[in-house]
Amino acid sequence: MSTLQDTGRWPAITTTLVVAFLLVLLPWRGGLLDVRPDFLLVVGLFWVLHSPERVGFALLFALGLLTDFLDGVVLGQHALAYVVGAYLVLQLRLRLLRFDPVRQAVQMLPVFLALQLVVFLVGWLVVRPPEGLMMFVPVILHALLWFGLAWWMLLGRPHRRAGRM
């Protein structure tokens, strides 16, 4: 169980983030570089879980920009992924805090996978953009169609809608 009322968290937060930063700056190369963990992301998300009143979207955004710069990629690529990560951890927060470390790790696995996909998607859109960004127009149309269907569903059952209000 996390102890939110702790006020002396900043030293621990700063120290772990600095250590993560230094680890990233080691001269990784070759195969090791490919499998190097994203230390800043893991430590950042850990503090979002345990100290959400101090570490949140803003800090994770900044850490993401730092990673973008260090990797020499488009600025914003990791920033977006880290922000999504902070959101997912906040959504899963109550679940995660009840879990033991093993279950927490297993629960975080799909989160990290999702973040890697965000990084991949942004990089792909930037390096090899498909013909325009028209492929995202249908997404909005899907949402509109969904609205239409949901509305049509409500038409036949006015009583249920009234009951909800």
Partner: protein
């Protein structure tokens, strides 16, 4: 005021609206960087701030290598030294012949009233850091604008062309490797003289594009820079042909190559300071 047990973010905006806000900001940053190119100043400032730490973090790895090498590699070093001495003697001869030839060449060019070939200056740089980009392969070198590095300059190691400088900061610069995805290098087959275009595929491989299926290319052919683009000087080894495929659906051969330069081995590289270098289009 932080109420124990109650999260402050609950009292402000909900997590979802904050996600939307920060995502929009991230998208704006991406757009600014890619389409407007307005964030190079930010990169420059970050480079200045981070570069001392990068230099410092290179020390542990170097130290470990030094210690490991000191104990185990004495014999290997002696052998390498003997080989290098022999090689130097051989190069002496070649150098004399080359001096003779360049003198002769200068006279001939003078006779033909052609412009003299210009000298190429070079400066050494060390690899400082390698970032992880899944879409292109880049290296950070420890020399920058203050040492005379400019965007577009070619970079070589002892074996061949490594790549091209793509970003320059005050004290460091970014090198995009020839095998980086979509990096194009005009080349010439050393055996036949046929010209072509080598393109990086990412993950350390390249392909030679647009060679008609009747072309004379065999496995093991060495590709040199052709010098046609005015960016790379002619005659630098770029890649070796490893496999040739003949797809029936295409009028061109599918030719796989690997770069010659030791991307993972070389620690010191040479940045060639060409007279009028341009960035790759």
């Amino acid at each position: 005021m932080v109420v124990p047990g109650q999260l402050s973010y609950v009292r402000r905006l909900g997590a979802t609206s904050r996600l939307a806000l920060w995502s929009a900001l991230a998208a704006a940053v991406i757009w600014m960087d890619v389409r407007v190119g307005a964030l190079e100043g930010v990169r420059g400032a970050l480079a200045l701030a981070v570069s001392p730490v990068q230099h410092a973090m290179r020390v542990p790895a170097d130290l470990a290598r030094e210690i490991a090498g000191f104990l185990t590699r004495h014999h290997a070093l002696q052998r390498e030294r003997d080989a290098l001495l022999a090689e130097r003697a051989r190069y002496r001869l070649v150098e004399q012949a080359a001096d003779e030839l360049s003198r002769e060449n200068a006279e001939l060019r003078a006779l033909l009233r052609q412009a003299q070939r210009r000298e190429i200056a070079a400066l050494t740089a060390g690899r400082l850091f390698q970032g992880r980009d899944w879409f292109s392969q880049t290296l950070i070198l420890d020399r920058g604008a203050s040492a005379g590095v400019r965007a577009g300059m070619p970079v070589i190691d002892g074996e061949g062309l490594l790549g091209q400088i793509t970003r320059v900061y005050a004290t460091q610069s970014e090198l995009t490797l020839v095998a980086s995805a979509e990096q194009l290098t005009p080349v010439m087959n050393a055996r036949t003289g046929q010209r072509g275009l080598a393109a990086g595929l990412g993950n350390g491989r390249m392909e030679l594009r647009f060679m008609p299926s009747q072309s004379d290319v065999v496995e093991g052919d060495v590709l040199l820079t052709s010098g046609l683009d005015g960016i790379y000087p002619a005659g630098l080894p770029v890649a070796t042909v490893t496999r040739i495929g003949r797809p029936s659906a295409s009028p061109y051969l599918r030719i796989d190559c690997v770069p010659v330069a030791g991307i993972d081995r070389s620690r010191q590289v040479l940045v060639l300071q060409l007279p009028a270098s341009r960035e790759q289009p």
